[in-house]
């Protein structure tokens, strides 16, 4: 059975390692925080200027001056810090953030990503995504394998305006865990109950299937 958003988040959470500073994008990536193992030390950075984000505040305790990049009210953990936007992107551009998890509209087999613009239709802006993908060495994309019309979003080449070139290393979709290298998507794991054939069918880009592909352990 294909994963839902929480399932995708759960699988990605397994990639978060002890001692990691992690930047979570809006949407599915935000959910990842809920599933990170509790026996490891992780700090969440939000590019609007906070390190050490905690859970959402209790009702009535929200503070308009303390939000995340999705403009949601948040709390902070002991050891948290606030800083200005230039410093925030110094952390990102300077490769101090260990892992970036973000959504995408399209990913291509060369690692290109498009997630900020549909010409003449949706022009919200790139926010911090272009800075994140241009600098991060460890990027996991959380996305649906296909769009609502059933067209693959795992492509030979992106059709939408790019956010960054050759930067994506891993993709977790509702169907599969893919590694992007040597101009191809390498199938690492299948979503529980999803066959290699289903994944192959839903993938427009080059899919490399090497040996037996295990199911995700979620």
């Amino acid at each position: 059975m294909a994963l839902d958003k929480n399932g995708i988040a759960k699988r990605i959470a397994q990639e978060v390692q002890d001692g990691f500073y992690v930047n979570l994008g809006i949407g599915i990536p935000t959910l990842v925080a809920n599933y990170v193992r509790e026996d490891i030390e992780v700090e969440f950075q939000s590019e609007n200027g906070v390190l050490g984000m905690g859970p959402f505040p209790f009702d009535g305790e929200e503070d308009a001056d303390i939000i995340n990049a999705g403009k949601q009210t948040i709390t902070t953990m002991p050891g948290a810090s606030f800083f200005d936007s230039a410093t925030s992107f110094a952390m990102i551009r300077g490769k101090h953030v260990d892992l970036t998890i973000l959504g995408a509209m399209e990913v291509a087999e060369n690692g290109d990503i498009a997630n900020w613009k549909i010409p003449d239709k949706m022009v919200k802006g790139m926010g911090g995504a272009m800075d994140l993908v241009a600098s991060a060495e460890n990027i996991i994309v959380a996305m649906m394998h296909s769009n609502k019309r059933g067209e693959s979003k795992i492509l030979k080449q992106c059709s939408l305006p790019l956010t960054g070139v050759g930067c994506v290393t891993k993709v977790v979709t509702n169907l599969a865990f893919l590694e992007v290298k040597n101009n191809a998507f390498h199938l690492l794991e299948r979503a529980p109950g999803v066959s290699v054939e289903e994944i192959q069918k839903a993938t427009e880009g080059t899919l490399v299937v090497h040996g037996d592909i295990p199911e995700m352990m979620i």
Partner: protein, 233 residues
């Protein structure tokens, strides 16, 4: 101590004119210069270029200037919460320059610190880099981005003193410190104007040298865009 204190928002915005380029602090509606924005509406200055990470919402923040058709051009990284914005942009009434958020912050900092331009990897290979100089350093490609040039910067701080020293709170800090000293005139509104000497010199986020005018703000609404809470068990 060089005194930067002005009486009120009217005095603080003296000299703002049509066609100027204005910087405005804030991320979403967090840390926006609410008083300055309302006064810009009152002044009804036209055809201004606004540098601000976001464009407010329809009825608050920079959205008020958009409703009033005062903005000629927006330079932002994310403008996705504003219907009037989308309408004006798609109809061609409003010119929009979308800039990666880190680049936006650094273009402010470069202006503040006297750097004419800088190389960043953000946007390389995308339409953001079109027409811009690119260059390789140690095997990685970078885009040359110029510093901003602006007439006024409008900044919101938590506390400040008459010397122009500022302290920010939480994530309402965001772009505000980076915009101080990045325009010809930096105007700061504070929630609390404290006595000179009350701020710990070790904990001043922005020294007064980057500020030209400061005033005690009033009636802060501090609207929350995405109130997100959990329930106590």
């Amino acid at each position: 101590m060089i005194n930067k204190k002005v009486k009120n928002v009217q005095e603080a915005l003296k000299g703002v004119k049509d066609n100027m380029t204005l910087m405005l602090g804030g991320f979403g509606l967090c840390g926006i210069p609410e008083n300055a924005i309302l006064e810009l509406v009152n002044l009804n200055v036209k055809d201004v270029t606004c540098i601000s990470n976001n464009a407010g919402v329809d009825d608050f923040g920079l959205g008020l200037l958009l409703q009033n058709k005062q903005i000629k051009k927006m330079i932002s990284s994310y403008v996705g919460e504003n219907d009037e914005f989308e309408r004006q942009m798609l109809s061609g009434e409003l010119e929009v320059e979308l800039t990666p958020q880190g680049t936006l912050a650094e273009k402010c900092r470069a202006a503040q610190a006297g750097f004419p331009a800088f190389y960043t990897p953000a946007g390389y290979g995308t339409e953001v880099a079109e027409g811009k100089e690119t260059r390789e350093f140690v095997g990685k490609m970078y885009v040359l981005e110029p510093a901003f040039k602006a007439d006024f910067a409008f900044v919101k701080a938590w506390k400040g003193d008459a010397a122009g020293n500022l302290v920010f709170k939480g994530t309402s800090r965001n772009f505000n410190p980076n915009m101080c000293g990045a325009a010809k005139i930096t105007v700061v509104e504070v929630e609390e104007l404290v006595e000179v000497g009350a701020l710990d010199p070790n904990h001043i986020h922005i020294p007064g040298i980057f500020v030209q005018r400061i005033f005690q703000g009033t009636n802060y609404e501090k609207r929350i865009e995405q109130r997100t809470v959990r329930q106590k068990k």
